[in-house]
């Protein structure tokens, strides 16, 4: 055993040592900058399709990376989250600084907004404390020039001691020069080593005192961390650093800090922030000349209309209406086409192929109803996810997202949410899946989680067919009122649950709304496409795998044991029968009802299909002529053309007369009279209402569940959503049924 493992251990060493040439060193460049400084656009312009989008480990913050070669140097670009500072309070800031301090990149590429120099330089000052070479991209330089700003770049380089390259990521100017400087910095690193800025006599003295102290008591710390940064953080009283270094005020630094406090006040964190800002202000004053008379800016003009006291809200609602319609109406024909392809030609072809090799019947069913249908389940979401991602990225890139939050915050804050929560909640009415992904626009993890927990209470499009069948059967006269009541119930319960969560799960968290309202900008189309594509791909690969797996599991549940005569004997029927007693106080304690509800796990509209299969004795399978391969191809082609035509049509109709297809759907569903007649025998009207209440509220469908797990990287929030929704659905249905009986609406 021992000998064997020894040999194994030696192997890799040999391979590296003798067989392979020494790996060429990779230049790791961390890209840091304020939000809205054009960092994403710059990275997209440099790296383009080589960009890989993922998440920082353990958190929901996006991580972008790209590896490529520039003039013979291998470069790894790591995009840090956009931050205003390196303080330890927000997730983004902690990620950025942990990366810089722990991973020690070879170079920091600091993207600075030239039109907003002072606040951007505040971060630059902090980056310069890290002892890592810095190269500055003075971005949005074209806009600054157009505004009449004159920036003395040479003076800036002299004062900071780092190369400064004017760039415009949207116009793609200066990017080559920027990379050139970054690469040449590699050959003579001292070129980009920032000056040590003077933080004032008192602070420098305290830093020197602590440094002297550390050199004797804990020299390892000075090795492990960038020393300048460590000293300043210790003075600031940075909680994370104190914890990591095990240094308390009493053990190491009392005298030094006493003096500082006497001279500058108790809050040393504030003192340091002021010193850093005054450095940024001083630098700005030296290098920036602004025109005497600033013109009224475009942003101001737009805001005068968009944030208008009277028109602001209508304009916002109109924008949301357009986004909602475009997201769901444009993607719907394509999604329908995909599902018809899956149910039609693909299924036929698979059946034909399996028929050729005489595969047993159950494998044919597994392949078509399990695997292919499951793949379809994933694919139908793709157009919607792409459309949603496109609009969200557009709203963020243009600067309107911040305004949307500004306009809606009062109302959303009242129920414990953030102004930006409105968009995910709204999308939830179309489909909960893109809605959950849309929570990524919320920076604060608390706001994000709370929003995602409440999204499933927004009645999505997949629940509508269930309502329609029951309304058609039981409430044909006042269907509108019943339907309306369900949507309102969802919203009211979201408000109630928001309040409860605020007081329980999220007690003590103090959310903030301190947010920049950036100038409006036209987002770069390339940037938009790259982002949309990366996100869509991510969904397809990561979430798709899970959804497929669950679909196959459900197939087993539905179809095994193979060959049962009666649905009651399938695993689904058995589980349904076991669960049924728990549902009988709600008025629908039959195995048929509970089995249908369980099948709704895949997607809530499946409840209807399953009920159809269970309740209505299926007419003899029609022996329809199977279409030929050529016919299938033809249908597929013309179907796609038709779908694309409808998509385009829906774009135009969004701005004109509504073309909602609900009427059509309603008619179609009303046609299924056999199911309606059967339901009338099985349910009382009161039980029917309790049942659709239950469908509104119970567990999110499997795709929404996967979205939640995927987006948050943990099962925690899905677990909570599942639990509270089940309890809520059960109690509300109970309230409806038992309360209704008490009020004399019949049992």
């Amino acid at each position: 055993m021992n000998a064997q493992s020894a040999v194994k251990e030696q192997e890799p060493a040999n391979r590296h040592g003798n067989l392979r040439p020494v790996e060429q060193r990779v230049l790791t460049i961390a890209v840091a900058g304020n939000p809205n400084a054009g960092k994403s656009t710059l990275i997209n312009a440099i790296a383009g399709s080589r960009l890989h989008v993922g998440n920082w480990p353990g958190v929901t913050v996006e991580k972008k990376e790209a590896s490529f070669e520039y003039q013979g140097t291998k470069i790894r670009l790591v995009d840090l989250p956009g931050t205003y500072s390196l303080s330890p309070y927000t997730q983004e800031e902690i990620i950025a600084r942990d990366y810089l301090v722990e991973e020690r990149p070879d170079l920091i590429l600091n993207v600075v907004d030239a039109t907003n120099l002072e606040r951007n330089l505040y971060l630059t000052v902090q980056l310069m404390e890290l002892g890592i070479p810095v190269v500055m991209a003075l971005n949005i330089y074209d806009e600054a020039q157009a505004k009449g700003y004159r920036i003395d770049v040479a003076q800036m380089e002299k004062m900071l001691g780092i190369p400064v390259v004017p760039t415009s990521a949207t116009k793609k100017t200066g990017l080559d020069q920027l990379l050139q400087v970054a690469v040449s910095g590699e050959k003579s690193p001292q070129l980009a080593v920032p000056h040590q800025l003077n933080y004032g006599e008192d602070i420098e003295a305290a830093a020197e005192f602590i440094a002297g102290n550390l050199r004797t008591s804990a020299p390892a710390l000075l090795e492990r961390y960038p020393s300048r940064w460590l000293l300043l953080k210790l003075i600031e009283g940075d909680a994370e650093v104190r914890k990591a270094t095990n240094l308390t005020e009493e053990t190491l630094l009392p005298e030094a800090l006493h003096h500082l406090r006497r001279a500058h006040g108790e809050d040393l964190e504030a003192v340091l922030a002021e010193v850093r800002y005054s450095l940024a202000t001083g630098l700005t004053r030296e290098v920036l000349k602004k025109p005497e008379l600033p013109r009224t800016e475009v942003t101001e003009k737009i805001d005068r209309i968009v944030l208008h006291r009277v028109f602001g809200i209508p304009i916002f609602l109109a924008a949301m209406w357009i986004m909602f319609k475009l997201t769901f109406d444009v993607s719907k024909p394509l999604a329908d086409w995909i599902s018809s392809m899956i149910a039609g030609p693909f299924k036929h072809w698979a059946e034909a192929l399996l028929g050729l090799i005489h595969a047993p019947e159950w494998t044919v069913s597994l392949a078509t109803d399990g695997v292919i249908a499951g793949t379809g389940n994933v694919l139908v979401f793709v157009p919607m996810i792409f459309a949603m991602m496109f609009f969200i990225t557009f709203l963020e890139g243009s600067g309107y997202m911040a305004r949307a939050a500004f306009v809606m915050d009062r109302a959303m804050h009242a129920i414990g949410l953030h102004g930006k929560s409105f968009i995910p909640m709204l999308l939830g009415f179309g489909c909960n899946v893109p809605a959950i992904y849309a929570t990524r626009t919320l920076e604060n993890p608390r706001d994000k989680a709370l929003t995602a927990l409440l999204v499933p209470l927004m009645s999505c499009g997949a629940r509508l067919p269930v309502y329609v069948v029951f309304i058609g059967a039981f409430f044909p006269k006042n269907g509108g009122t019943v339907l309306w009541s369900l949507y309102v119930m969802g919203i009211v319960l979201a408000i109630v649950m928001g309040f409860i969560f605020k007081k329980t799960l999220f007690r003590g968290d103090a959310p903030m709304f301190i947010m920049e309202l950036p100038p409006y900008r036209v987002p770069s189309f390339k940037s938009l496409m790259i982002h949309t594509w990366e996100k869509g791909k991510h969904f397809l690969v990561k979430a798709g795998t899970y959804i497929l797996a669950v679909s196959i599991m459900v197939w087993f549940l539905l179809n095994l044991p193979w060959g049962v005569e009666h649905k009651r004997d399938s695993y689904l029927g058995q589980v349904g029968a076991a669960v049924a007693p728990a549902l009988s106080p709600l008025g629908f304690g039959s195995w048929e009802a509970s089995s249908s509800l369980i099948a709704g796990l895949v997607a809530k509209e499946i409840v209807v299909g399953t009920m159809g299969e269970i309740y209505v004795k299926k007419a003899e399978e029609k022996k329809a002529e199977k279409p030929t391969f050529a016919q299938d191809l033809q249908t597929a082609g013309s179907g796609l053309v038709k779908a694309l035509g409808e998509s385009v049509n829906n774009v135009t109709s969004t701005f004109g007369v509504s073309s909602l297809s609900t009427d059509e759907d309603a008619e179609k569903l009303a046609e299924r009279t056999p199911l309606r007649e059967e339901l009338k025998k099985q349910f009382t009207p009161l039980a029917a209402y309790a049942f659709i209440t239950f469908v509104l509220l119970y567990m999110p469908c499997v795709v929404a569940a996967v979205a939640m797990v995927h987006e948050f990287g943990t099962w925690k929030w899905y677990g909570i959503a599942f639990g509270y929704q089940m309890v809520l659905a059960w109690s509300m249905a109970l309230l409806v049924y038992q309360g209704g009986k008490l009020l004399g609406f019949g049992g």
Binding site: R119, F406, D409, R410, H413, A510, M512, F513, E516
Partner: protein, 75 residues
């Protein structure tokens, strides 16, 4: 006077910041510092939050966050 009661168009100079912890640090990181000049630009349609102009950019914050920021009114 605190920042939350200024009318749109009014300017003030920050005298003190009453906030503590993360809120205070966040305000400081955004350039809301003692001595800084700040102008209220807009109030949101529903009356909260507000938009201010500070350090040559536009910042929005809720009224309850602005209440802790004491200002002396300028012009």
């Amino acid at each position: 006077m605190n920042l939350a009661v200024l009318k749109p168009g009014q300017k003030g100079r920050i005298v003190s910041i009453g906030a503590i912890g993360p809120l205070k640090r966040r305000l400081m990181d955004m350039g809301v510092l003692v001595g800084e000049e700040v102008k209220v630009v807009k109030v949101a349609p529903m009356g909260d939050p507000i938009e201010v102009y500070i350090k040559s950019y536009n910042l929005s914050l809720r009224k309850n966050e602005a209440e802790g920021i004491a200002v002396e009114v300028l012009a």
